[in-house]
Symmetry: C2
Subunit: 331 residues, 2 copies
């Protein structure tokens, strides 16, 4: 599954900016792949691209219409259907990360089949996977992990990729979630694979490579999260990471979605992740911290970063404010 780019980002009738966060991520990290945004009436989001209709997008080179908007329930809205249908007619493939599948929407499936277009439901892995075999492979790999879910793992992996590319290093971001897949143009939503194949999916995703090539693998979940830790552990084992970056949002009162579950300390989380990583890569270690300090003032952020560095003795950055330069230095 590889998405054709450039993309036209479909924002539909997004109720607010947050509803278009997928489009936002793609526009931020792959501006060169995005020719514009397509907004319907009543769209309350704007990701800063040129507004285009389907025809203008096509003429600007777009070949995939990316559904970059989510609504309650993750369904394909009736209001979008005319646009999606017209897109297929014009020549576009369509890619979506919604719960409801394009491929299970009879009208779209039939039309796409008749016209020879592709419908990509990136939430649902299509690859035929094998069970992980744990065999060591060449190439270097870095995996982002977190004290909790939604702690900046995708953002951090992308910031590291960007920094490495700036430095002329060989590097590829490897996507394990929906937004990441749009950004990478390929990948596997590892939380959606059959449980037996989690580590196998991670092996497939970051295959053998040149000895100086870095895969920057997007982490999922957290070893400390009672709902998702199984996904995280399989991803760690299959990724065989040489290095990890531990992502953290200071100030959370409990694990996301789990009242009563406190966050682990940075030190505990670091130790737990290194222990898990050492099974398939004895050299695995955490080389730095990535803090999401978006709710803090500049001076407060500085204090939080300093405090985290003192606690674990590793460089800590806010990748959003500062980029990932010090993390790449720490490799």
């Amino acid at each position: 599954m590889t998405l054709k780019h450039p993309y036209l980002l479909f924002l539909g009738d997004a109720v607010d900016q947050l509803a278009a966060k997928t489009a936002n991520g793609v526009a931020r990290w792959r501006p060169g792949w995005c020719v514009g945004q397509l907004r319907l009436e009543d769209c309350h989001a704007d990701v800063g691209l040129t507004d285009m209709d389907l025809k203008q997008g096509w003429e600007a080179g777009a070949r995939t219409l990316v559904v970059g908007v989510a609504n309650r329930g993750g369904v394909i809205s009736d209001i979008w259907m005319q646009t999606l249908t017209d897109a297929l007619d014009l020549g576009y493939d369509i890619a979506s990360g919604l719960h409801t599948r394009l491929n299970q929407t009879p009208h779209l499936r039939q039309k796409a089949a008749a016209l020879g277009r592709q419908l990509f439901d990136v939430r649902y892995p299509e690859q035929s996977l094998a069970v992980g075999d744990g065999k060591r492979r060449a190439g270097r790999r870095l995996l982002t992990v977190g004290t909790d879910v939604s702690s900046g793992k995708m953002f951090t992996a992308l910031a590291i990729e960007a920094e490495m590319k700036t430095r002329g290093m060989a590097a590829d971001f490897r996507a394990t979630g929906q937004t990441g897949i749009f950004i990478a143009g390929s990948g596997i939503a590892v939380d959606a694979v059959v449980a037996d194949f989690i580590s196998g999916a991670a092996e497939w995703l970051s295959p053998e490579n040149d000895p100086d090539h870095w895969d920057l693998i997007e982490g999922q979940g957290s070893l400390s999260h009672a709902s998702y830790a199984g996904v995280t552990l399989g991803l760690i084992h299959g990724s065989q990471p040489d290095r990890m970056v531990l992502c953290h949002e200071p100030g959370r009162s409990h694990m996301r979605g789990l009242p009563g579950y406190p966050l682990p300390s940075l030190k505990e989380s670091l130790k737990m992740n290194e222990a898990a990583g050492s099974l398939t890569n004895p050299e695995c270690r955490v080389c730095g911290l990535s803090l999401n300090t978006s709710r803090a003032s500049d001076s407060e952020a500085e204090r939080l970063l300093k405090s985290a560095e003192d606690e674990v003795g590793l460089p800590a950055v806010d990748a959003y404010r500062q980029g990932a330069s010090r993390l790449v230095d720490a490799l």
Copy 2:
């Protein structure tokens, strides 16, 4: 998904005794549910039940034909088809743990639908699952874990259930694999659920119960196995076990299927499992060991058990040779 019993066990044209190990397990642990065995010509297995044809089985009370035989590839053999078809005609439901689904075999699906029979593909979970919520629930739970896969986790959980029932304790075996599901009459193959729902499946499987009731949950995989540890961790978190029994087969040169990966020591494995369990149940601890000493002589087995007890300071039994009495004492 609850299977109707009694069962008639279908051994087909099993090439050897091992090919009928599912039937063997069911016959051993649920003799009262098995009216007999049905063997075709060229069957080289025998699980010690009365040989019956479909009609005799039906008259003896059987209501589900359990496919207790596996062949290469896990397909539904053409040679079995007449028997399966006749079984539906006579009134049986059919249950199978094969890779190929009864429900995707058009002839069987159509016939079952027309006659109102059920086809159970126990390898494929059908329950609509939720993400695990980590909420503490009443009732007591014991989970079997292992230094490696295939180390006696199902057998041990069943031996503990049998011992508890003998003592008049309230106890239920909870099945997480195919043979276990036939034995329990229900359950979920947790390695086959979507990865996001592993812990949710374990929560569903061992729901709130009376304070003195024990769920004996069949473990899967091993935290030390690079292919399957994600499944194991999610199962541990969702089970919220108060107690674990650590299963081990002495003498293995490496983790099953993973040459180059040594087994953890008993102490390491114990510590790792207790640490994982403590996330959702701070009282979680390993209370005993279950060793598979089937390759050892009586005196050698005794030495192995003594040595394991000395190493970790907990009772060690071979549940096959001795039953689980000392494990239940250790609760």
